[in-house]
Amino acid sequence: MALLEINNMTKVFGGLKAISDVTFSLEKGRIVSIIGPNGAGKTTFFNTLTGIYKPDGGTIKFNGKSLVGLRPDQIAACGIARTFQNIRLFPDMTVIENILVGMHIHFKQSPIQTLFRLPGFKKEEAEAEKKAARLMQYVGLKRVENELAKNLPYGAQRRLEIARALAAEPLLLLLDEPAAGMNPQETEDIIRLFRHIKTDLGITILLIEHDMRVVMNISEDICVMDYGEKIAEGTPQQIRANTRVIEAYLGRGAVAGQHEEKMQ
């Protein structure tokens, strides 16, 4: 059974069909990319999947459970964590606090334990702190635990957002343009990080990305969207050769010739 099964998902804004009839399934343990020109509905797809938008039609099944009608926090508790296209950290909290917030759904402390600092509370906090510190190391953030998130450099903020998402111990990790604004070195590092996340932690990854080096390098499968529709799906080789995809990116007429540069 697939980890995520979406059937005929539709999302309409006014008269605009941001997502129309998308059917998509994702096997456990895979890294899959969603690509498509700007405005294709990729981020809307994420937002509908995570419950920020309510779908106007279709079904979403995750890990055997229907997500339609659940609130975003309930969906997060089902095991879906995400990052955002334009980094959304908690800027005035420290790095470690950001990660601790990511663990929210796993904390069991009761208000009474909290108020009187009972042993259960102390133990849980200490363990969470340790785990957060380990996560910091894992994503490559060194010695910045007490730094405010807003003071981190851009690349580190991206990493912190990933650490925060991992803190929830998700089954599925949604990454919205994780390599945006990164230089080639950083991009390479982050690709390596994603591979590790998949192999070490067994987390399934679904990412939106514009950077074709990343997409072609890391994806086992690629799903292409245009105008809210899924226009193609397949391995990187298949997508490279797919005429509809080339049309979507470069327009009709480009199919005949020079698409090689763009796609590599």
Binding site: R71, D73, A77, R88, V101, H104, I105, Q137, A168
Partner: protein, 445 residues
């Protein structure tokens, strides 16, 4: 440049024994000045600011605690017993500090702009006003027509129980209001809470018919005070009588007692706030304040968390309301106007939203400005007005000065100025909130 000069100076003296000497010197000087000049506002300010040097100078925690206890439980009661005006100022500072700390949870931690916070204060106050007065037996009489000598509904000692009831009822009111409202964000929430604050005030104003719950604009009086232990006055007089210089009456002793109550509430609030802040709940509140969308994506249930913040903040206002009703023995809708909400909000913003010492400082500053500085200035202008003094050069006689220019009436101007200036120059407040630094032992590899 000036601020860096002061910082440098502060760092130079804030060392070793110097800091202890300065703090003790400040407390002693303040006490001495107030003792020798019980009518001087300036002397009082020197004493009150000694709390600040106690806070800012680096001394051991034990020293801080002992000094704070001596200041709050010995020196201030003596000063207050000698001059009841000071006692009133101190009491008001404590009441507003407690309110501001409660609002701080809502605005400072959870980032929910609540413009109707005094509504919960009113709920607490009217709760005790209704049950702790004759109002229950006046339900069927229009205001002013009730026969004299009606019995009181509950004995004064029920007040102690109502401190808890006030917490619960105000908390529940917070949840009731919050349920429909907290789905709104930012500006919308502010507008609705503003409306709610007014609704409660107008209800208090108009619930004198068909059943007379609140006695309308005339307000409820007399409201019972709890009985004071018999020995309290004698004990105070025997211990402090010599220092105070005269024996205090039961009325003054009551004011002292209510000051102690307010202090106790403040301590409870600080305790609860600090512990919650550094936990799953507090982090969730801050996360909601920082970015709702990101917070909910971490699995934080927005509405539940906001409700919790609202309820906790409201319950603190509720208990202070009960205390206010008992200490004043009179309340009316006037006490719970929109201006009060804005006043408390000003304290939070001036001091530093999210910062406990900041908020207390904000409450003290605004209250002192209101009660002492503005009024002191008013008195001074009045004296000038009554004299024959003339401003030279422009030949303006002070007695021609319009009564409209009474500084005591410029409370609103003051609030406005504070808000504008703080937003421009120091948006994080006088003592900005700081995040806790954690030490983590982790084998580096």
């Amino acid at each position: 440049m000036i601020s860096s000069f002061f910082k440098e100076l502060f760092n130079r003296v804030n060392r070793g024994y110097w800091s202890y000497l300065i703090v003790i010197g400040h407390i002693v000087a303040g006490s001495f000045l107030v003792y020798t000049q019980p009518r001087s506002n300036l002397a009082f300010l020197v004493l009150m600011t000694s709390f600040m040097s106690l806070y800012f100078f680096t001394t051991s925690l034990r020293f801080k605690l002992i000094a704070a206890v001596i200041l709050a439980l010995v020196i201030i009661p003596i000063v207050g017993a000698r001059n009841i005006f000071y006692l009133e100022v101190i009491f008001q500072i404590s009441v507003f500090a407690a309110l501001a700390l409660g609002l701080n949870i809502v605005v400072g931690f959870a980032g929910l702009l609540d413009l109707g916070y005094v509504a919960f204060y009113a709920v607490g106050a009217y709760l005790w006003a209704f049950f702790g007065s004759q109002q229950f037996y006046m339900l069927h009489y229009a205001p002013g027509t009730a026969p004299a000598a009606l019995p009181f509904f509950l004995p004064g000692d029920a007040f102690y129980m109502f401190l808890v009831v006030g917490v619960i009822i105000a908390g529940l009111t917070g949840i009731l209001l919050g349920l429909p409202v907290l789905r709104l964000r930012g500006d919308y929430l502010a507008i609705v809470t503003l409306g709610f604050g007014e609704v409660i005030r107008v209800l208090a104003n108009n619930l004198d018919k068909p059943l007379n719950f609140t006695n309308g604009p005339q307000g409820i009086t007399p409201i019972q005070r709890p009985t004071m232990p018999d020995f309290a006055v004698d004990w105070f007089n025997s211990v402090f009588g010599g220092v105070v210089g005269h024996n205090v009456s039961a009325a003054v002793m009551y004011n002292l007692m209510f000051y102690m109550f307010a202090l106790a509430v403040i301590i409870v609030i600080i305790f609860v706030t600090r512990r919650l802040d550094d936990s799953k709940i507090g982090r969730a509140w801050t996360a909601v304040r920082e970015d709702e969308t990101a917070a909910i994506a971490q699995g934080i249930p927005l509405v539940k968390m906001k409700l919790a913040a609202f309820a906790v903040g409201a319950s603190f206002a509720g208990v202070m309301g009960v205390l206010l009703a008992a200490s004043r023995t009179f309340i009316s809708p006037e006490s719970f106007s929109f201006m009060q909400s804005i006043g408390v909000l000003t304290m939070v913003i001036l001091g530093g939203a999210g910062s406990i010492p900041g908020v207390i400082l904000g409450a003290a500053t605004v209250t002192i400005l209101n009660l002492q500085v503005l009024q002191g200035f008013s008195l001074y202008l009045n004296e000038l007005r009554q004299s024959d003094a003339v401003i030279p050069i422009i030949n303006f006689a002070w007695k021609d000065l319009s009564n409209q220019l009474d500084p005591a009436k410029y409370q609103r101007l003051l609030f406005g100025l504070i808000l504008v200036l703080m937003m421009i120059f120091r948006p994080a407040g006088l003592i900005p909130a700081a995040r806790r630094k954690r030490k983590i032992d982790l084998e580096e590899n």
